[in-house]
Every structure is written in structure tokens, then in C-alpha cells.
């Protein structure tokens, strides 16, 4: 009974965190990408002296400002939730996250107080070059500010550069550079920011397409599309490249996530990549039902993605749960035994320290350190608990990849017709352009679902499951704040959409 209540609280806290993060991610990618697009528009203005480009830059700057204003501080809510709902986790990672998040806060404050002000207020008050410099600083600063939070997220996916201190119950940073330059943190930063560039390019294409359909602000819309489609095309390529790197990292640091998003239950040599499929909803880890009702597989591609080698072995969910000695894969079953021993030694250490028995404390600590890397497994009740929701992860991943393949085609078509100056005649493409930002939104959210749902049950990969990371709260307390946030987010979103649509209606040259 108590366990059921605990799990309910955990699930409400997860739902609340997911809702807040998804809401936050409406605004962030637009800030990341639109800031650079504005810098491009203004650079062309400064270079050519053509006042039309100034109009373009100023118009997108207003939409950037609206997005920024509505989105500001939505990330802070996540920090509130850490302290209230996830207090054990929050305590344990304080030493790792404290410095990066403080840097982010300071950078954001100075950036907003100085360069944002020059960018918005300084058009006729400072020199053209200083204004342009400020616009670029906003773009660079916004993206750098995202670095720290993504490094923190990367650390949760692949904890490195730290040691657990059993006296303080904290993970303490040992090597700042290992945390900053961990391969997971780097691919997290590059993949996430470039997806923001892509999303913002789609936003510009969407709004400009609408103008072209309405035959309003035609030249400004065409100019906007020219720059956005080039930036979007380049970003699409970079997103694919960094996505491949992220999948490679998953294969080596979070193989269960890779197996889940590919719906791979049985490990294989020369494993194929599922291009499209319908997951079997009745499939369980320990049964022999087929994982898919329908699937189209590209032979050998998953092995290339995972190991850069077409004949290599990719472990499946069953291998990772029950182990595969032949392929040298340790299963969750064995890790649970090691993890339980680590937890037991931690308890013995605590007891010995309290009783003043230094020798026993040292012995327990030595043994704890031997199995420390499996600590989190010690809290799992069964090996199957190490498996994330497979269907959710699978569909999110494949939706993201399919849309990721569509975006460069959209940008290429827009670029070609913009260069030919025949965009206004391509009604079908303009309609596609209008809906493209929504596709970008879906792709971005799916990316986060893969990253976060795909690594369940961990708050910190292999070290801390969400059931131990949580606070001792009732489900009711979290439910109340969940619905409060739902109401606030809905009101704010309606406000943003209304203000944004009104400004788009007015347009860059007024009605």
C-alpha cells in the first residue's frame, strides 16, 4: 500500500516535471535559433546598407522579444521542482550542478541587462557596428547560457568526473573538465542547440509563407525565407550529424535506451535499423511474442549506427536485462546483486561510523567502492524494472527521425523557389511552410521524450532511480501544484499566441 502511494507520488512528480520541461521547450529553441537569424539579417543590413534588411531584422526581433518575455523564468520552475519534489536528488547533485547553474544565472543576467537592452533600445542610439555586435552577443550568449544546463543534463545521462562521498551523501566534482567535455554533454549541447536553429528557421518559414499566401510583405517574406532556408538546411545537416553522434553515445553509455528506441529485444550481429513499424502492444520483456506487428528494417544499419561496424553486435533489451555471456553483456540481474551489495555496504558504513568502529567503516567503504557504479541497481525490485517504456521511446524516436528527414527537403524547396523568385506561385509549398513549425515542435518534443523517457528508471544513470531521488511528499501535494501549473502554463501560452499572432498580423510594415 505504502509502495503504491510512493509510486503515485513519483509519477505525479514526473508528470509535473515533464509538463514543465515541455512547456519550457516551446520557448527555448526559438530563442536559440531566432537570435542567430536576427544576427544574420542585421549583418546583411550592415554590409549592404539596404534598409529592407533592417526592417526584416527589426520585425523578427519583435517576435523574438515576445517569445523571450513569455518564456523567461519558465526554466526556474524546474529548479523549484527539484527542491520540493526531488529533494534527495537535488541534495546529491548540488556539488555538480551548483557551479554550472550559477554561471548560467550570472551570464543570463548580464547578457539581458546589457546586450539585450542595446539590441532592443539602441537602433538609433548606438553605432551600427556596436548594435550588430550586441545582436551577435545576444545570440552567442543565449546559446552559451544553454550550455550549462545541457552539461548538467549530459551528466545525468553519463555521470563522470565525480565521486560519491558517503559522509555527505553527495556526488562531488573531481574533474570539472571531464564533466564539461564528456562526449554525452557535447553531443547533448550540439544536438539540442542545432535543433533550436532548425526550429527557428521553420518558424521564419511558417510566418513568411503565411505572408506570401496573403500576398503581404512579399519582399520581406522572400528575404526572410532565403536566409532561413539556408540556415535551416545547414542546421538540418548538423542535427543529423550530431544525432548520429548522440545515438553512438547511447550505444556505449546507455545501451538500454538505444535498444528501447529501436524496439530491439534480441541482440544481434549486423542488426538492422527499423525504418518504420508498429510496436506490439502486448509484448513483454520475458515472452517470445514478436516485438512488432509490422516493420520495415534496413539490414546492418543499426550496427553501423551503434558501433560504426556493419557486422558488430548490438545488445537487445533481453541481453541487457538477463545478460549475454557469449557477447560479454552483463545483465541487470547481475547488476542488481552488485548494487544491493553496494547499498548494504553503505548502510554498514553508516552504522560503523556512528558506532565509532573505524576498521569496520573502512572495510565497508572499500567494498562499497568496488560496486559503487551499480549503486542504483540496488534499488530495483526486478531486472525488468531497468527497462524504460519501449513503445513511447520507439515512436518518439522514429517520429523525430522521419520529421528530421523531411525538414531539409522543405528548406531545399523553399530555397530553390526563393532563388527563382517564384515562391508566391507555389501554393502547395506555402501551405506546407505554414504547418512546418508545428512539425518542428513535434520533432523537438519527441527528441526530449527519447532522451528522458528512454533513460527511465534513472534520475542519474545507473546510480539513482527516480524512486529514491524523490522527496517524502504525498501524491496529493504534487497533484495540486501539477494542476496549478497546468492552468498557469495554459494562460501564458494563450497570451503568447495572442500577442504573437497580433504582431504577425500587423507585420513588419504595419497594416
Amino acid at each position: 500500500m505504502v509502495e503504491q502511494m510512493d509510486l503515485t507520488m513519483v509519477n505525479w512528480a514526473r508528470a509535473q516535471f515533464a509538463m514543465t520541461a515541455m512547456y519550457h521547450w516551446i520557448f527555448v529553441p526559438l530563442t536559440l535559433g531566432l537570435s542567430f537569424l536576427i544576427a544574420f539579417f542585421e549583418s546583411i543590413y550592415v554590409k549592404t546598407g539596404n534598409e529592407e534588411w533592417k526592417k526584416v531584422a527589426k520585425f523578427w526581433m519583435v517576435l523574438f522579444g515576445i517569445n523571450f518575455a513569455i518564456g523567461v523564468a519558465t526554466g526556474i520552475i524546474l529548479e523549484f521542482e527539484f527542491g520540493t519534489n526531488w529533494s534527495n536528488y537535488s541534495w546529491m547533485v548540488g556539488d555538480i550542478f551548483g557551479a554550472p547553474l550559477a554561471v548560467e544565472g550570472i551570464v543570463a543576467f548580464f547578457l539581458e541587462a546589457t546586450f539585450f537592452a542595446v539590441m532592443f533600445f539602441g537602433w538609433d542610439r548606438v553605432s551600427k557596428k556596436f548594435h550588430l555586435f550586441s545582436t551577435w552577443m545576444v545570440a552567442v550568449g543565449s546559446n552559451l547560457s544553454a550550455l550549462w544546463i545541457l552539461v548538467a543534463n549530459g551528466w545525468m545521462q553519463f555521470p563522470t568526473g565525480m565521486a560519491f562521498n558517503p559522509n555527505t551523501a553527495r556526488f562531488e566534482m573531481q574533474d570539472f573538465w571531464a564533466v564539461l567535455f564528456s562526449p554525452v554533454a557535447i553531443s547533448k549541447f550540439t544536438h539540442t542547440t542545432s535543433s533550436g536553429f532548425l526550429f527557428a528557421s521553420l518558424f521564419v518559414v511558417t510566418v513568411s509563407s503565411w505572408y506570401l499566401l496573403k500576398k503581404r510583405h512579399v519582399q520581406i517574406a522572400r528575404k526572410s525565407i532565403l536566409v532561413a532556408s539556408v540556415f535551416g538546411l545547414l542546421s538540418s545537416g548538423y542535427v543529423a550529424f550530431t544525432g548520429d553522434e548522440a545515438a553512438y553515445n547511447n550505444a556505449h553509455k546507455q545501451p538500454m535506451k538505444l535498444a528501447a528506441f529501436e524496439g530491439l529485444y534480441e541482440g544481434q550481429r549486423g542488426a538492422g535499423l527499423v525504418a518504420a513499424g508498429i510496436a506490439n502492444p502486448n509484448k513483454k520483456v520475458n515472452d517470445d511474442q514478436p516485438p512488432f506487428l509490422f516493420e520495415v528494417r534496413i539490414p546492418g544499419l543499426l550496427s553501423i549506427l551503434a558501433n560504426r561496424s556493419p557486422g558488430s553486435f548490438v545488445p537487445g533489451i533481453k541481453d541487457l536485462v538477463y545478460g549475454n555471456k557469449k557477447e560479454g553483456v552483463m545483465g541487470a540481474k547481475e547488476k542488481i546483486e552488485k548494487g544491493r551489495d553496494a547499498v548494504k555496504q553503505l548502510a554498514l558504513y553508516k552504522q560503523a561510523k556512528k558506532g565509532g568502529d573505524k576498521a569496520a567503516a573502512q572495510a565497508a567503504l572499500t567494498r562499497f567502492n568496488q560496486n559503487q557504479e551499480y549503486l542504483g541497481f540496488g534499488y530495483l525490485k526486478s531486472p525488468e524494472e531497468a527497462v524504460p517504456p519501449v513503445a513511447t521511446t520507439f515512436y518518439a524516436f522514429h517520429t523525430m527521425v522521419i520529421l528530421g528527414g523531411l525538414f531539409p527537403v522543405i528548406f531545399l524547396l523553399f530555397l530553390v523557389f526563393a532563388l527563382k523568385d517564384t515562391l508566391v506561385h507555389q501554393k502547395w509549398l506555402l501551405f506546407l511552410g505554414v504547418i512546418s513549425v508545428f512539425l518542428g515542435f513535434v520533432a523537438g518534443q519527441c527528441g526530449w521524450i527519447v532522451a528522458e523517457v528512454g533513460r527511465q528508471p534513472w534520475a542519474i544513470q545507473n546510480l539513482l532511480p527516480v524512486t529514491v531521488a524523490r522527496s517524502n511528499l504525498t501524491a496529493g501535494a504534487v497533484q495540486t501544484t501539477f494542476f496549478m501549473f497546468l492552468a498557469i502554463f495554459t494562460i501564458l501560452l494563450i497570451a503568447e499566441i495572442k500577442i504573437m499572432l497580433k504582431q504577425i498580423q500587423i507585420g513588419p510594415e504595419g497594416r
Binding site: 518575455a69 519534489n85 551523501a169 553503505l346 534499488y379
Partner: protein
Amino acid sequence: MNGSYPGSIVRFYVEGFRSMTVGRVLWKIILLKLFVLFVILKLFFFPNYLNTHFNTDEERANHVLDMMTRSAESHNLE
């Protein structure tokens, strides 16, 4: 310019805020949102659990350590 340098910075901000059109509505939203977040939500609904339940870092560390070991004991070590 020399003596009024800080003054011109202040004027820059004041005139900038005055000349805002869409920005005025946005600032109202920002201020209202910050009030709701920090004064209402943070104060009444999102207290820091460990800070409100324990007085010292040592107590907090012991609590977290208890949670780490006790949950395992109830699950696995009996």
C-alpha cells in the same frame, strides 16, 4: 559626456523603456509572472523540502543517507 556617462546609460534605459509599445504589455506579463512564481508559488507551494525539514547540512546529509539505505533495506536486505 565624461561626467554624465552613468547618466547617459540611465537615460538610455529610461528612454528605451518609454519608447516601448509591445514591450509594455510584455513587461506587465513578465512582472505578473515573476510575482506569481516567486511570491505565491515558491513561498507557499514550493518550499525546499530539506531546508524546511532540517536545520543543518549534517541533518540533511543524514536524512538523504537514511533514504538511500532504508529504502534498500526494506526492498532487498531483509
